[in-house]
Amino acid sequence: MQFIAFDADYLERLQRGDVHTERHFAAYFGQLIMLKLRSRLSSKEAIEDVRQETFVRVLTLVRANEIRDPAGLGALVNSVCNNVLLEHYRAKGRSAASIDEIPQESCVATETMGAGAESREAQQLVRRILSELPDRDRRLLQLVLLEERDKDTVCAELGLSREYLRVLVHRAKRSFKFFYLQRFGEAE
């Protein structure tokens, strides 16, 4: 997978409003912000609000030339996002000293991969991966991912350890990762 360097050149392009760089910035960090927020906010609209506000603040800092360390751009985006999230949370009349105190919400369904041929291909691949799992492993994923049952209880019922669940997810996604890197690796 090819990575784009967050360096002085990237920052300079972002400063002068290069469309390609701005698009990359929004896509790359937008997805990470969404993944970070979807278990902390209860609606897509709230996620979108926090995401947009984060972008506005970060780009304001970039254009004001207030970023001294280009390599720290990711850390800055995360930090700004935490602040915006806390403000959003407090604006609802609730209190939290840090994002650690914000309770976990049920994961908001969001589209990470989008539509199109790649998405259909990915669906077929995942379907095959799941189909080829032993019944017990598939049942485990169904109870945990779909029915959102308590993981400890489910693992105990099926006579499995919690470690087994983590390893199962890790192994099951390996084939998918290969596919993903082939399709999207060059575009990163």
Binding site: L32, D100, Q104
Partner: protein, 231 residues
């Protein structure tokens, strides 16, 4: 949290399975916003789990497994409409081979293993004008032995004997080495190769050949004979 810690911890899977306590969760987020490798892993895992949820919701996955393991294009060959005639044809081939082909081969092999008299025709001296054509008579379906001399007027590195039928077509060609050419040579013709008719056996001298090119052939002698097999 640094990259090594994240890897050792299995932080990506733990993050999505809600197995990280809040401080570690926050620390991992700080890390993957800063580490493109972990960010990629996070996105891949999120996509995989999201699509898995969709597919588990659609259900019928056990059935899909059974279908996915069998390649559909092979199914055609397992249909009774194809399988039954195929087995019938196979059976007929086996019966034919065992009842007809193998006994015939066995008889021919047994015949070859038995000593017997072979019809022989000597072409020695048959190159002279005015000589009567050698006639070969004998039961059809028997092997034949042709004996002849290679003319030694001019030595060649190699020779060949070419049998030409009455229509001018080459029936077969036999290479002859210079050493073999020093004596009378005998050419065995298997049974059933030649039908009744006039034949000409042409003896050729072959010039030394360049690599990759055909040798030049000079006709040294022509021996005619007539084959009249009796029924």
């Amino acid at each position: 949290m640094d990259h090594q810690e994240a890897m050792q911890l299995g932080a990506v899977e733990r993050y999505f399975l809600d197995e990280l306590p809040p401080p570690q969760r926050t620390a991992f987020e700080e890390h993957f916003f800063d580490c493109q490798e972990c960010a990629a892993e996070v996105r891949i895992t999120a996509d995989f789990l999201d699509i898995s949820r969709q597919e588990l919701r659609r259900g019928n996955l056990g059935h899909a497994a059974a279908k996915s393991l069998k390649r559909p294009w092979l199914d055609v060959f397992f249909r009774p409409a194809v399988l039954t005639p195929a087995f019938g044809l196979l059976l007929a081939v086996i019966v034919y081979q065992n009842g007809v082909v193998l006994p015939r081969f066995n008889a021919q092999i047994a015949q070859l293993r038995q000593p017997g008299v072979v019809a022989t025709v000597s072409l020695i001296g048959g190159n002279s004008r005015g000589d009567a054509l050698p006639q070969i008579r004998g039961p059809s379906g028997q092997p034949l032995l042709l004996s002849l001399d290679i003319p030694a007027a001019r030595p060649y590195p190699a020779y060949a004997c070419e049998l030409i039928d009455a229509a001018g077509a080459v029936v077969w060609r036999v290479p002859v080495s210079a050493v073999q050419a020093q004596d009378t040579i005998a050419i065995s013709v298997p049974a059933g190769v030649l039908g009744a008719g006039d034949y000409t056996l042409v003896v050729q001298g072959l010039e030394a050949q360049d690599r990759g090119s055909n040798p030049q052939a000079a006709a040294l002698a022509r021996y005619r004979f007539v084959l009249n097999p009796s029924p």
